[in-house]
């Protein structure tokens, strides 16, 4: 056993390493510095995230392929999803300082947790093996369980945290069980090898593979909050501090989608009789889940009075839209969609974080009556994010939806009804996205309005989200062609590490 055959390439895990190291550094700094080292912490976090971003762009220098015995891969999906994750993390870090200061919450742990979560998500996005998928997922999930309960004094936060934790672990168990069955059926945990095994008819227990895939679908379905595994979302999103909601509504979902793509769109997208059977089954299932998810998300959002809950349902619906893109196994539309979704969602939550005031006191939509022209910049920003979420041009939300619909229409001729369902859902969604705008701009001012203070960092985060939303809505070409390379995921043409390297004789 030669170590070189493991293809150890530290450049391939540079982003994860940077972030993890930074997390440790923060813990040390926090331990050895006086209170109020928030600025240092935030600075370190930001710097490390930016460095990680650079490292992600540098991934290409490592070359496309899989490293560390196939545990991690470098491919456009990873690169693009990592970028998205890092952008969200950066934005949330920017937003966090004001949140932590305003609520006097300990900063060290928070930034460390952000970094740990980011590390986990980056690992998840680059996972090339079921074990890294599992591990990355767990790192990311467990971190977010903690973050959801970051306001320890707040019952709602604890409740949110507990629900998230219990149900998340419950779903993880399903995922894990699925993984074990897939492993048993294919005798490997490496995704590429799984693909090859299916394609070459080497699957010993086809039925177990199918059941395993189903269980994994349940696990992933939970993590991306798709119906009927979505029920935790509104409760958890509502109870968590808004900024955490913004974070966990986006980044983990993005990372899970990356793994989802790697496993299903690449791993379970193989040729052969079994392969096509499996592919057909999961695509159909995903299509049904997508339809259900969009519909439930949008319809229930209609009757929400709490803006955070409304956005939670909206995030469910958006997972549904992303799943529509998923059925073609084409990564580019999904990737673009999630980038856009992350930007606008983080943006929206950021504004709400400010408007809700410290301690999330004003989260009923009605609380925002008439503030439109009192704090125009924030209100218009929120309006733009909402329009984008609704998919109205010239915002990125439209562009991404268009990309999804287009790809689904072309890529899955038998599932075109799904595009229609998605469109009808978009129509329904317009109604509730307009509602906060109506309240903010068209209603008279509610008493007790306090103009939010906006720190420079918060402003920077908002600008990042806003500029991104508009830029991707008007000039998406650059970004789209950047991911265009991965538009059809390679199926078999990719060189796979020979099985004898990853299994011991």
């Amino acid at each position: 056993m030669q170590l070189t055959s493991l293809n150890l390439n530290y450049a391939a895990i540079a982003p994860e390493s940077i972030v993890s190291v930074a997390a440790v550094v923060i813990m040390l700094v926090d331990a050895f510095s006086k209170k109020g080292a928030r600025k240092i912490n935030a600075g370190i976090t930001l710097v490390s995230l930016v460095l990680a971003l650079i490292a992600v762009f540098g991934l290409n220098s490592a070359g496309r392929g899989s490293y560390f015995a196939g545990m991690i891969v470098v491919d456009p999906i990873r690169v693009f999803f990592s970028v998205t994750i890092l952008i969200v993390s950066i934005a949330v870090t920017l937003l966090a300082s004001q949140f932590l200061r305003d609520e006097a919450l300990p900063p060290g742990e928070f930034f460390a947790l952000i970094l740990f979560a980011t590390a986990g998500m980056l690992l998840l996005a680059g996972a090339g093996d079921l074990v890294t998928v599992f591990l990355g997922l767990e790192i990311a999930s467990i971190t977010t369980y903690v973050m959801a309960g970051y306001r320890r004094y707040d019952t709602r936060a604890s409740e949110s945290s507990l629900k998230y934790f219990l149900l998340g672990s419950f779903a993880t168990a399903f995922l894990l069980y699925g993984m074990s069955l897939v492993y048993g059926a294919t005798a490997t945990t490496n995704l590429t090898a799984i693909n090859q095994a299916i394609a070459e008819g080497k699957v010993q227990f086809p039925a177990l593979l199918m059941i395993g895939a189903a269980l994994m679908l349940v696990g992933f379905g939970f993590k991306i909050a798709s119906a009927p595994f979505h029920l935790w979302t509104p409760d958890v999103y509502e109870g968590a501090p808004t900024i955490v909601t913004g974070f966990m509504g986006t980044a983990p979902k993005v990372a899970v989608f990356a793994a989802f793509l790697h496993t299903f769109a690449e791993g379970f997208n193989a040729g052969g009789v079994l392969g096509s059977q499996l592919h057909h089954v999961w695509v159909t299932a995903v299509a049904i889940i997508a339809a259900l998810t969009m519909t439930v998300g949008n319809v229930v959002a209609l009757s929400q009075k709490n803006i955070k809950r409304m956005l939670a349902y909206s995030s469910i619906a958006h997972a549904g839209y992303a799943l529509v893109g998923f059925i073609t196994s084409e990564a580019a539309p999904v990737a673009f969609y999630l980038l856009v979704y992350s930007l606008m969602s983080v943006g929206a939550f950021a504004v709400i974080q400010l408007l809700a005031r410290a301690g999330d006191q004003k989260v009923e939509t009605a609380d925002y009556a008439g503030i439109g022209f009192q704090t125009p910049a924030l209100s218009f920003a929120l309006a733009i994010f909402l329009f984008s979420l609704a998919g109205i041009p010239p915002t990125a939300g439209f562009m991404s939806k268009f990309f999804i619909f287009k790809s689904a229409w072309d890529g899955a001729p038998t599932l075109r009804w799904l595009v229609i369902v998605a469109v009808i859902n978009s129509i329904i969604s317009v109604y509730y996205y307009l509602y906060p705008i109506v309240v903010m701009f068209f209603r008279p001012l509610a008493p007790g309005f306090v103009k939010p203070k906006v720190s420079a960092m918060t402003a920077a985060a908002l600008i990042l989200a806003l500029v991104g939303t508009l830029y991707l809505g008007i000039l998406p070409n650059r970004v789209m062609s950047a991911i265009g390379g991965s538009s059809r995921t390679a199926q078999i043409e990719q060189p796979i590490p020979s099985t004898d390297q990853i299994t011991l004789k």
């Binding site: 767990e138 409740e159 219990l166 074990s180 492993y183």
Partner: protein, 100 residues
């Protein structure tokens, strides 16, 4: 040699018992234990496959699962403690502030 399917069947039964436990139990800690039971049953599947395939990967996976379970236990129990502090109960049905 005990057939593979026996192990798998036992694992499935244990997993399902764990699932049922999540529905039946009300105490957060017990719920959590049920989840641990589910994870454990998966370990059995993995080890069984590992043996029958003659492949150590399954066991390595189990190792990772154990670590994860440990981490999860640490955090999960912390969450439960935190909730208990604000709520004075571990009944998950009482934790229903967030709904509708």
């Amino acid at each position: 040699m005990v057939p593979l399917s026996w192990y798998l069947a036992l694992s499935a039964v244990l997993f399902t018992i764990g699932v049922a436990g999540v529905l039946i139990q009300r105490n957060a800690i017990v719920l959590f234990m049920c989840i641990e039971l589910m994870l454990n049953s998966v370990n059995l599947t993995l080890v069984a496959f590992s043996r029958f395939l003659g492949d150590v990967t399954g066991q390595l996976f189990v190792f990772i699962v154990m670590v994860v379970a440990a981490a999860e236990a640490a955090v999960g129990l912390a969450i439960i403690i935190a909730l208990f502090r604000t709520r004075e109960t571990l009944n998950v049905d009482e934790a229903d502030l967030l709904k509708l």
